[in-house]
């Protein structure tokens, strides 16, 4: 966005105010449009993941054929009728050449991602549905609540570092801004619950309030720890800091994935804790007690229908995108690809250190932002997939279990990690005096490399190892005890 602004000022000669306005509008439109498309697509992916985990087929009907092919067919058939006018015949003639390519495309897309258009059909349906507002609700609050929820979720997009050049804004308090604006969501949810004049909705809203307020603490502690290490609140600054350059280090030892925050020993415990807390913040299973349909009909959006309901729905998925992107920024290196040589190759100007010993940021070649955008998107979507995977693995917690997990487990763990990191930084300073900064850099670099590679290898082994014979035997024993069932 700043680049666009400078371009408008210098090349088009627009005034400062106009170019700022245009730049903000264009950047917001592009980012929000893309994210809302991703949100819609995620609803399809969620259903597909659920189906695959449960050995079902999943959505497979809504392809291009039924959607657009039928429309074309109707228009073409209409043109053939004797009573068709000139306009009808012209439309038929215009549509006819598209029929064959569409059917080919339909076949390809139907093989790759069957039923992918279901989210468009869903959106269309929700827009066309009647917007029912019950008589007894508090109308202004009832109408405003969905917008507040969606706006607070989308507001977080403003400072996300999509790439080294592509971002809407880079505040020097970026992560603080995100923590503030995403927790505004609870206001909208509470408004919806209160205004609905429905006990289930109110209970859902209250549960959400209690949950989000509690889970702000581990999230805040995790953010504080990262800020402690990075020394900045700016999202871009956090990304650059995970390229892991320190005064005295060689820039050729930077840009590897083990220099991401997650492979800092204390953060390796903290990152999962943060991820769990962020799951609770966006009301995802296993923490979706505010909308637990087995207890509260649909929680805070019980009384909503049509487009207003879909705003809540979109807000949930937009929140997933935002929290995943924040997790990627804090712990997984932001837009860094994590492959050292690739990063070096893309640097038009390697980073250095000015006279005061402060690091100057590397300047990337013109295609750098594209590669970084790809890396950021892939990492974010991997985390979204992880959220879905967790959703279809774990059952929903009870209310007291949710609170217990937060207050008795996550907060002590986050506090311990904060203390460990802080004391490690002091120890590190003392060690640097004793050993020399360069030697310490080299030692930590190789130790972290070994740690990261070991963890990755263990995870791969854990998930890929064949099932042990004794596990199979245990399963068969359970089945044998269950017997052939109640029927002969």
């Amino acid at each position: 966005m700043p680049d666009l602004y400078h371009f408008l000022v210098t090349h088009w000669g627009l005034s400062v105010a106009t170019s700022a306005l245009i730049a903000v509008f264009v950047a917001c439109a592009v980012v929000v449009g893309t994210v809302l498309f991703v949100v819609g697509f995620s609803t399809y992916v969620e259903r597909k993941v659920a189906a695959d985990i449960q050995r079902r087929i999943g959505p497979n009907q809504c392809n291009l054929g039924p959607f657009f092919g039928e429309l074309l067919r109707v228009v073409v058939e209409n043109g053939k009728l004797p009573q068709a006018g000139a306009l009808g015949r012209a439309m038929a003639a215009a549509c006819k050449p598209f029929q064959r390519p569409l059917s080919v495309l339909d076949r390809i897309l139907g093989r790759l991602a069957p039923g992918v258009l279901i989210f468009m059909a869903d959106g269309l349906k929700l827009i066309l549905k009647e917007d029912i507002i019950p008589d007894a609700v508090d109308k202004p609050l009832f109408r405003a609540a969905p917008y507040i929820v969606l706006a607070s979720a989308l507001g977080g997009l403003a400072v996300l570092p999509f790439s080294d050049k592509l971002y809407i804004a880079d505040f020097n308090i970026g992560i603080f801004y995100i923590a503030a604006i995403t927790s505004l969501e609870v206001l909208g949810i509470l408004m919806a619950g209160w205004a609905s004049n429905n006990k289930w909705a109110l209970l859902g809203g209250m549960r959400s309030a209690a949950q989000i307020v509690s889970y702000e603490l581990p999230v805040g502690l995790a953010i504080a720890t990262v800020v402690l290490v990075s020394g900045t609140l700016s999202m871009q600054g956090i990304c650059y800091s995970q390229l892991a350059l320190h005064p005295g280090s060689d820039w050729h030892s930077s840009g590897w994935f083990w220099q991401w925050n997650i492979f800092h020993p204390a953060m390796f415990v903290l990152a999962p804790a943060y991820f769990l807390a962020s799951l609770a913040e966006c009301n995802r299973t296993p923490f979706d007690i505010p909308e637990a349909e087995s207890e509260l009909v649909a929680g805070y959006h019980t009384e909503y229908s049509g487009m207003r309901f879909s705003l809540f729905f979109m807000a949930e998925y937009a929140m997933m995108v935002v929290t995943s992107a924040v997790a990627v920024t804090l712990f997984l290196g932001g837009w860094s690809t994590g492959l050292g040589p690739l990063e070096w190759a893309m640097m038009a100007e390697p980073p250095g250190f000015d006279a005061a010993g402060v690091m100057t940021q590397p300047v990337y070649a013109w295609y750098g932002w594209l590669v970084h955008l790809l890396a950021f998107g892939l990492k974010t979507y991997a985390l979204i997939l992880l959220m879905m995977w967790i959703r279809w693995t774990l059952p929903r917690f009870r209310v007291d279990q949710v609170m217990g997990l937060c207050w008795k487990k996550l907060i002590p763990i986050s506090l311990a990690c904060l203390l460990c990191t802080a004391s490690w930084m002091v120890v590190r300073m003392m060690l640097a005096e004793q050993l020399g900064a360069t030697l310490l850099e080299h030692i930590t670099f190789w130790l972290r490399a070994a740690f990261a590679l070991g963890v990755t290898a263990w995870l791969v082994w854990y998930f890929r190892r064949p099932i042990a014979p004794e596990e199979v035997a245990a399963q068969e024993e359970v089945l044998a005890q269950a017997g052939p069932g109640p029927l002969p």
Partner: protein, 235 residues
């Protein structure tokens, strides 16, 4: 509450770590199970995905695999049925109807065994109590029809699974028999009425009265057929 000793504090910390370890371990084990399913469903969909699209492209003859313990529609081996009606008494939702007849030899035969397919919840209680084992739950899973009439007794007719599943031909045959019976009744009524033609409204009433019993007896006539050759049920 007194002060904690050092040992107690240490024990608490140890238990905390133990709990967290247990949580992480079981979580990973669960994730591994679902993850395996997810990967296999994408790598080998033909073998792993066990459901089929229920959209009319699947016919009963498609050879769909069902599980060993699957409970499908009820199925009666009429030759084995002694007409004790224990299943009727056991059924928690009263969806089984059984009529019995005595044959010339004095043996009890079941002349009607109907299940209201819209009510049946496939609990299997009737199968459990059946003394002869003639009543079983088949592997027949297809319950979709294009008319609600097929599942209920809107026509005074229940879906008779004792006599086997009605194929479309059988349905047509039943329909034809029912119409023939109705026409025969009508003719008989007309013949009876011919000598002294009554006013129009009583005729309609007579016709209605004449129609209902034929329809109600239609299933029993349909079931009567398998009694003669008991091998027919649900191949």
């Amino acid at each position: 509450m007194g002060r904690q000793t050092r040992e107690e504090k240490g024990k608490e910390v140890f238990e905390f770590i133990q709990e967290v370890y247990l949580g992480v371990r079981t979580f990973l084990a669960g994730m591994r199970v679902t993850g395996t399913y997810f990967v296999n469903a994408n790598l080998r969909p033909k073998e792993t995905i066990t459901t089929v699209a229920y959209d009319g492209s699947v016919s009963l003859a498609a050879g769909v695999k069902v599980a060993e313990r699957f409970r499908g529609h009820l199925q009666l081996d009429t030759a084995n049925c002694i007409g004790c009606k224990t299943c009727v008494k056991t059924c928690p939702i009263d969806c089984i109807w059984v009529d019995t007849e005595k044959s010339e030899t004095g043996k009890l035969h079941v002349s009607r065994f109907d299940v209201d397919q819209l009510k049946c919840m496939y609990c299997g209680q009737c199968v459990r109590v059946c003394p002869t084992g003639g009543l079983t739950m088949s592997k027949r899973w297809w319950g979709a029809t294009f008319h609600t009439d097929d599942g209920t007794n809107l026509h005074g007719q229940l879906r008779s699974f004792g006599a086997g599943y009605y194929t479309p031909e059988q349905k047509l045959e039943n329909e034809r028999k029912r119409q023939e019976a109705a026409e025969a009744k009508k003719k008989a009524a007309a013949m009876a009425a011919k000598p002294t033609p009554p006013p129009p409204s009583p005729v309609a009433a007579v016709e209605k009265k004449a129609e209902t019993p034929t329809q109600a007896t239609a299933p029993s006539s349909a079931v009567a057929a398998p009694e003669k050759k008991p091998d027919t049920p649900a191949a």
